[in-house]
């Protein structure tokens, strides 16, 4: 909607005649409008324009589980857990690291739950703790007071009786509320909580810090002592999206017993995970405490019309409208339900649908626990929340995943400070990532921004002018002789000028224009002045990414810039097999960078049977070495190094050959002379080799620096900026802003800020280079 991709459907539904920003049932000329629930009508509408029709069917997110595994563990599948406490008990009962699971890939036995780091699956936990992750704030125009409403609210009457439904709301994310912290702590408990099995009663016992320290715990008034090796950690398999952690596959194989996922259609779920759907059941997210409500999340998809489709003649547009109403029509869904019932699959159909469609006789086939859930949803005992439908939730979902939940679940997650991370991510959400920064805040910074911008702009132009002038200094001598025929040189230059102009500078200028616009891919883009730059300036994560970029450049320089020099010097000293080594070093160069990155990604497999982890295992045989399996790319501390290594490895060969060529240009007797003069190997290196290589080193350094500053290919392939933001370099951030978040204006402003920094730096380097060349000329 924001990008103007969609065509308003008011043509068929009817117009907002009273100007309250919504098309009421009374205003609508289309019959179907009244069948769309009010919330969904509101979601589809913006400023009186309707952009989509919701599917009649809705997706529900709850806790999926295996009834057979529950039974095996002595649990009653018809009486699923209703509170977090009960849930934890279930999870412990369902966890047995020693249990043999046929078809497993990695020996972890059976675990209680597959934890998925996706934001949408985490929200219901927050809500079941009583939290409201997204709220809307409406200001009463009369009193000027702010009122907070639920995101799903459809009635906006204040306690004072004012109706604020006509007021444009401002949405706010609450991902760092105490309830959200509690829900994240809950993730942490599921992943890292210590527990043990009491041998006498056969019951699992959760262990707190005190019990762990004492090695003793009280079970049913009876003291039980335990040894450290009896303590189990977590009830979770982490589903991080790497190989063999697909949650449905894990559930299907029985490696996990529960999973928070889409639960509506158990038949489909069963089919896709390869298990008998009769062995599957689900229950709502349990309440955090007794007395609170369990929660389900509902999602609805919309059908919409793209603007370019709507460019066609009216008759064709009408046909498309027909299709839209057809696919979203309740009748279509109902027909499918009927067919399921007639096929004898009524037990997989929602009880509500059975009742509505008159299949009362079949209701008893629906498992009792499900009946209870459906009834609860109907009565409100189970709370329903929609997946956030405002702002850039998709981005936020990813951010919560990358920057918080993944890091709790990861191998290294036990010590992770999720409270701070939640705070950070919430700040981002409310300052541009999910919801636009409030206008008032932008206004506040505008004067400062103007000054900063003018200063920066003048500096940039000055630098560019200085660079250009430094190239034209000796023009007089060059032009002579050609003065009479000024056309030919220009003609010869033309192809290059055109190519560079069209492919280099035109996009650059367009980008500059975009940076001052609120750019929309289709439709008109409004000029917004410096707003984008203010947003950037206030965006801590952008500056953090600049810092990360500098770090990235440093690591890359250290590895891919210095190692070839060392390699070349070693290569020039190797007594035999030089050609063999040279060939070996050069080989990676002929391999595609993509393949190299993906190969390394495979080798960085965080499981113990990953290539590098196997090497680590071998290293452990050495005396005095004790290293556990590493999680490589998923470890925030190690990720940057891991990302840089493949490129450094692949590039070292070719670069070392270049240095080798330079080294060969130093005659052997120069070293001998140095030896006679009293120099050892270190002196030879420092006083002869390095000075000879210096011009090459500097040129390479400039190249590496600039390329690295912009480069993000390997990061894109290996970590996508994660884990957390540990490899979020500016280039990656720009890409995400542009192509994930579709915020092209912000992306281009970022690119310009990065570019400006680079131009400044390049200027310094050129000055430096010129001095070097000057020195060479005098040689």
């Amino acid at each position: 909607m924001a990008q103007g991709f969609l065509y308003p459907l008011n043509e068929w539904i009817g117009d907002d005649t009273d100007g309250d920003g919504e098309v009421s049932v009374a205003e609508a000329k289309w019959e179907g409008w009244k069948d769309v629930p009010e919330l969904w009508r509101k979601v589809a509408t913006r400023d009186g324009k309707i952009y989509g029709l919701p599917d009649a069917a809705q997706a529900t997110v709850g806790v999926l589980f295996r009834t057979d595994l529950a039974r095996n563990a002595g649990l009653d599948p018809n009486r699923p857990p209703r509170t977090w406490g009960e849930f934890y008990y279930w999870a412990m009962r369902l966890s047995d690291p020693g249990m043999p699971v046929p078809g497993r890939v990695y020996v972890a036995g059976q675990q209680g739950i597959a934890l998925v780091p996706q934001g949408f699956a985490w929200l219901p936990w927050v809500q079941s703790a009583g939290g409201r992750p997204i709220v809307q704030v409406r200001v009463d125009p009369a009193s000027g007071r702010e009122y907070v409403f639920d995101q799903d609210a459809v009635s906006f009457v204040t306690p004072e009786g004012a109706d604020l439904s006509g007021v444009r709301p401002e949405y706010r994310a609450n991902f760092d509320s105490p309830e959200a912290v509690k829900a994240t702590a809950w993730y942490h408990t599921l992943r890292w909580g210590r527990w043990m099995l009491d041998v006498e009663s056969g019951e699992p016992v959760a262990l707190d810090a005190a019990a762990l320290a004492a090695g003793r715990v009280t079970v049913g008034g009876r003291p039980v002592t335990f040894r450290p090796e009896e303590v189990r950690s977590g009830v979770t398999r982490a589903s991080m999206g790497s190989r063999d952690t697909d949650p449905l596959v894990l559930l299907g194989r029985g490696e996990v017993a529960m999973l928070t996922w889409f639960v509506t259609d158990l038949l489909n779920t069963g089919n896709s995970s390869g298990i008998n759907p009769d062995l599957l059941a689900w229950f709502p997210y349990p309440a955090s405490e007794p007395g609170m409500s369990p929660v389900v999340q509902v999602q609805r998809h919309y059908a919409a019309m793209a603007v370019n489709v709507a460019d066609r003649p009216k008759a064709e547009r009408d046909k498309i409208w027909k299709v839209l109403t057809g696919v979203t029509d309740k009748q279509a869904g109902d027909e499918a339900t009927r067919r399921m019932v007639l096929a004898g699959l009524a037990r997989f159909v929602s009880m509500n649908d059975l009742e509505r469609l008159g299949f009362h006789d079949y209701i008893h086939t629906v498992p009792a626990s499900l009946q209870e859930t459906y009834r609860g949803i109907e009565t409100g005992a189970v709370k329903r929340f929609t997946e956030p439908h405002q702002g850039f939730w998709q981005t936020m979902d990813g951010a919560l995943n990358r920057e918080v939940l993944s890091l709790v679940i990861a191998q290294t997650g036990e010590q992770f400070d999720y409270t701070a991370a939640l705070k950070e991510v919430t700040h981002k959400a409310n300052s541009g990532m999910m919801f636009a920064r409030p206008r008032a805040e932008l206004d506040k910074y505008r004067p400062v921004a103007r000054i900063v911008f003018v200063v920066a702009g003048v500096a940039l132009v000055a630098v560019v002018v200085m660079i250009i002038r430094s190239f034209f200094k000796h023009r007089g001598a060059v032009v002579s002789g050609m003065v009479n025929k000024p056309v030919l040189p220009w003609l010869l230059l033309l192809p290059a000028l055109l190519l560079i102009g069209v492919w280099g500078y035109y996009p650059l200028v367009r980008g500059l224009v975009m940076a001052f616009q609120d750019f929309r891919v289709t439709g008109d883009s409004a000029f917004v002045g410096l707003d984008n730059f203010i947003t950037l300036g206030l965006d801590k994560s952008f500056w953090a990414s600049m810092g990360t970029t500098v770090y990235y450049v440093c690591v890359t320089t250290l590895l891919s810039f210095c190692s070839p020099i060392v390699l070349a010097i070693m290569l020039s000293e190797v007594p035999r097999g030089k050609i063999l080594y040279r060939t070996l070093f050069f080989l990676p160069q002929v391999t595609s960078g993509l393949i190299i990155a993906l190969l390394w990604k495979l080798m960085y497999d965080p499981r113990p049977n990953g290539v590098f982890n196997q090497i680590v295992t071998i290293l452990n045989y050495l005396p005095g070495v004790e290293i556990g399996a590493q999680s490589w790319l998923q470890d925030p501390k190690m990720a940057m190094l891991c990302v840089v290594l493949p490129a450094a490895w692949a590039g070292a060969g070719i670069h070392s050959l270049i240095y080798l060529a330079a080294l060969k240009s130093v005659p052997e007797d120069t070293y001998e002379a140095c030896e006679m003069d009293g120099g050892g190997i270190w002196t030879k290196l420092r006083r002869i080799t390095l000075p000879v290589l210096l011009p090459l080193i500097i040129i390479n350094f400039v190249g590496t620096f600039i390329a690295t500053f912009q480069n993000m290919g390997n990061i894109f392939l290996l970590t996508f900026g994660g884990p957390g933001e540990s490899t979020m370099v500016a280039g990656m951030k720009i890409w995400i802003e542009a192509y994930n978040n579709l915020r092209f204006s912000i992306a281009t402003s970022m690119a310009w800020v990065v570019g400006a920094c680079l131009i400044g730096f390049t200027f310094l380097q050129i000055q430096f280079l010129k001095r070097v060349e000057f020195r060479r000329a005098k040689d």
Binding site: D669, A673, E675, M676, G678
Partner: protein, 376 residues
């Protein structure tokens, strides 16, 4: 200052296919203190290898090198109290002339003032005062070599080693540098070991010359002794330009006198009646193979032939005449053999002209063809 003693010095390289290659065959050489010793020989004779073993740049495969009485086989080059001048100058390209010369001293932690004084002294000696701030690239070949020499001088080593230092210079520069190095030797009074393949350099510069061939020492002696009393055919042929003329033949007796008769058959073969000195030497070789050697300057053309000698004159044909200015070389042929005569510059003979020449037997030599050693 020091003497250098080489005993049974051997160098063996690992060969291409595993078979070791011996390039220096256990040579013995005593280089006296303050001596200018020239190692000369054709390329591949082992002279450079020998020098580099003295310098410590090559590992010694066998034997010993002593500098100033101290065995230095296992001493690092920098600790041997030597300095070396390389054929390609081996200057540090990124350093100025001053720094090039000062570098070794800096590495040896010599005080700054002393370095300055020594470099100034050397640069004055070598005429480099105006170039101290330049980089080697901005210097001519001769200047560069002077810097290389300067770098050696400032170190004040006991022994100077020169490895074909002049071979990269043009002919003129070579002649003047030759003289300069000689002067330097006189001035510094240091022991110098100088490797060259150029016998002129060897003759003009060396106090003594060591002629080498295939890893063996052929002869060690003062230049004129080498010239006048070559120990073998190799030295005789190598020292002197144009080289000594050799005639292969036999000793025969005719009319009570021994005479050398050239090996080739035919009318034009040379036969030389030997004088008393040569006769005694040749006596044991009667009827046997022998080599007769005579330097070009001892071949006299007709105008200088005295009437008494005319009986022994040899009829030859002038093939080429090379006027050198101070002298003229005549390439002469008998039809079967060719040889060279060094004659007066006033001699003008067109090619093809038949003349008669005589040989100054007082300076002629006889060699054993099998051992190539001189007879007598």
């Amino acid at each position: 200052m020091a003497n250098v003693t080489i005993e049974n010095l051997t160098k063996i390289y690992p060969g291409e296919k595993g078979s070791p290659v011996k390039v220096v065959h256990g040579i013995n050489l005593e280089i006296r203190d303050r001596e200018f010793m020239v190692l000369v020989g054709p390329s591949g004779c082992g002279k450079s290898t020998t020098l580099r073993m003295i310098a410590g740049l090559e590992e010694i495969s066998g034997g010993t090198v002593k500098i100033g009485g101290r065995m230095v086989n296992d001493v690092l080059p920098k600790d041997r109290d030597i300095a070396m001048v390389f054929q390609n100058y081996a200057l540090y390209p990124h350093m100025t002339v001053y720094d090039n010369m000062a570098f070794g001293l800096k590495l040896r932690k010599i005080p700054g003032a002393e370095i300055k004084a020594r470099v100034r002294e050397a640069s004055a000696m070598l005429g480099l005062d105006d170039y101290l701030d330049r980089k080697p690239k901005a210097l001519s070949g001769g200047q560069r070599q002077r810097v290389a020499v300067g770098r050696a001088i400032v170190r004040k080593p006991a022994v100077f080693l020169f490895d074909e230092p002049l071979s990269n210079l043009d002919a003129k520069m070579r002649v003047s540098m030759r003289a300069e190095i000689s002067k330097l030797h006189a001035r510094l009074g240091a022991t110098m070991i100088y490797v060259t393949h150029d016998q002129v350099e060897a003759m003009t510069m060396g106090s003594r010359i060591c002629v080498m061939k295939d890893g063996h020492i052929m002869q060690v002696d003062e230049p004129l002794n080498l010239y006048n009393k070559p120990a073998n055919m190799f030295v005789a042929g190598f020292i002197g330009s144009p080289p000594m003329n050799f005639f292969h033949g036999t000793i025969q007796e005719s009319a009570g006198k021994l005479q050398f008769v050239e090996a080739n058959q035919g009318e034009s073969r040379i036969s030389i009646v030997l004088d008393e000195r040569l006769g005694t030497k040749a006596a044991p070789y009667l009827g046997r193979q022998i080599v007769f050697g005579i330097r070009p300057e001892d071949v006299r053309d007709a105008p200088t032939v005295s009437p008494s000698e005319s009986a022994r004159a040899i009829a030859v044909r002038v093939e080429v005449s090379e006027p050198m200015g101070a002298e003229t070389f005549l390439y002469l042929g008998t039809g079967a053999t060719s040889f060279i005569a060094r004659v007066s510059p006033t001699t003008r003979l067109p090619p093809g002209q038949q003349i008669k020449v005589t040989l100054n037997l007082a300076n002629a030599h006889l060699f054993d063809p099998a051992s190539e050693r001189i007879i007598g």
